[in-house]
Amino acid sequence: MSPREVFALRDHLGTALTERSISDPRHVVSLAQLATDSCLGGRSGELDGRSVLLATSGQLLAGLALIEIDGVARRMLLCPPDLKPEHLASIIADAGIDAVVTDEPQRFAECGVDLVITVGLPQPSTATGQTVRATEWLMLTSGTSGVPKIVGHTLDGLCGAIVGDSPAPGEAIPVWATFYDIRRYGGLQIFLRAIVGGGSMVLSDPGEALADHIARLAARGVTHISGTPSHWRKLLMSGSIEGFRPRYVRLSGEIADQAVLDGLKRAFPDASIGHAYASTEAGVGFAVNDGLEGFPATLLGEGRGAVDMKVVDGSLRIRSKRAAHAYVGRAAAELTDGDGYVDTGDMVELRGGRYYFVGRRNGIINVGGLKVHPEEIEAVINGHPEVRMSRAKSRRSPITGGIVVAEVVLTADADPMRADMVRNQILAECRTRLAAHKVPAMIRFVAALDVTPAGKLARTDA
């Protein structure tokens, strides 16, 4: 490929930048500035052909830097905020990292990489990045245990689901936000939609109180926003949505059950509400906009759309130009099967012409040899009008190996005096809709449930 045919993120910025910006709680950076300014002190040329670890303390500098680095470096690894220090060395080795871009240079003084470039807010510079190659984008999976896997993408693949998002001339530009971190796949999708699709981006800040965050999103005119069902449940129970009126609300990253879809419809009656299937490995699979959980079976098959999908042994498999091209590293496994399909590990069940997600293959609870997906139970529990969220999990049993127990968070307006009644109603509903071994043996009411840094319900014990 000649450099002429290679496009990098900066080449998608377009010309009408004057009203576009990237912001966080402290700074608003005009995208127009990025055409002339550098956030690397004019040193991006030193990254020519390098394999770069992008590790910043916040999202804003990461977003600015990746625009400047893309098309220059050979590889760019987006370091998520929760990367454990003990995994750093193996990731540097596996990805062949030979340069670090960071706002905390002292953190990387001893990491064995000679070239450490400091990133800061954009400053006028005579030397900004030039597109000379297609940079390989590396992301880390959000696995809860062990070293995260390194997954390789191209900008083309990452942008594969972004079509027709650009505003028509004269139309107000979309303002995007996400509860995800943009250094994870779900968040990066939204960042790229904003940058490539002609919009602005309002970044989240983990240190910000939820009410302040939502007030900021409303004040900056956010029109499009995404998060996991756990993120949305947290927001719905916060009572903080007053005055926030997005036009487009999107869920991904976990199973979107009917209760959370209906809750969002009530909270945002004028918004279009959709849930999307995507993973760091398989890329964006599909989006569902009919307000119902699950997805139509007609989406399955080959050559029907942008992705091919099939179900093998109950798990969803996806073949797509948007999928990652490989796992990267010394002990990297094959990403796809012989036919090019990624096994997502997400288990689905066909009921009446629609596929429903029932859980992760590796999250299965074993009750006396019978398999139970915690998500299936949670979906039933979450259907109770006074339940905001729940977690089903295994409890060790000397008799059956494990039994199902559940923790339940009630809605803010639920009366704690009625907890026993709510418990009985939940159990009655579970007995009606679930096999006996799936009905929780015990239900405990809790004030909150942990959510991982990637925005998913924590399942360390499942």
Binding site: R395, P398, I399, T400, I403, R431
Partner: protein
């Protein structure tokens, strides 16, 4: 309430939930005759662990699972403090 009464109450509660018709609960009744399946016993043991703070069947590898209601209650009554 004594340990015995709490165990009997828990058995009756689970029987009601699981739609099991219990025969009179005498000490001689075998656990098999209660009509409880292994899931019902698993639930019973877990709830009693929460209620009484002890699960006698995982305390020691030597404990064998009891045969009768009397043995079952005895396992809880004889747990060393």
């Amino acid at each position: 309430m004594s340990v015995r009464l709490r165990i009997i109450a828990a058995i009756k509660q689970i029987a009601e939930e699981q739609k099991v018709k219990l025969p009179p609960l005498t000490d001689e009744l075998t656990l098999h005759e209660t009509g409880f399946d292994s899931l019902a016993f698993a639930i019973l043991v877990a709830r009693l662990e929460d209620d009484l703070g002890v699960d006698p069947f995982t305390l020691s590898e030597e404990v064998t699972f009891p045969n009768t209601i009397g043995d079952f209650i005895g396992a809880y009554e004889n747990v060393p403090a």
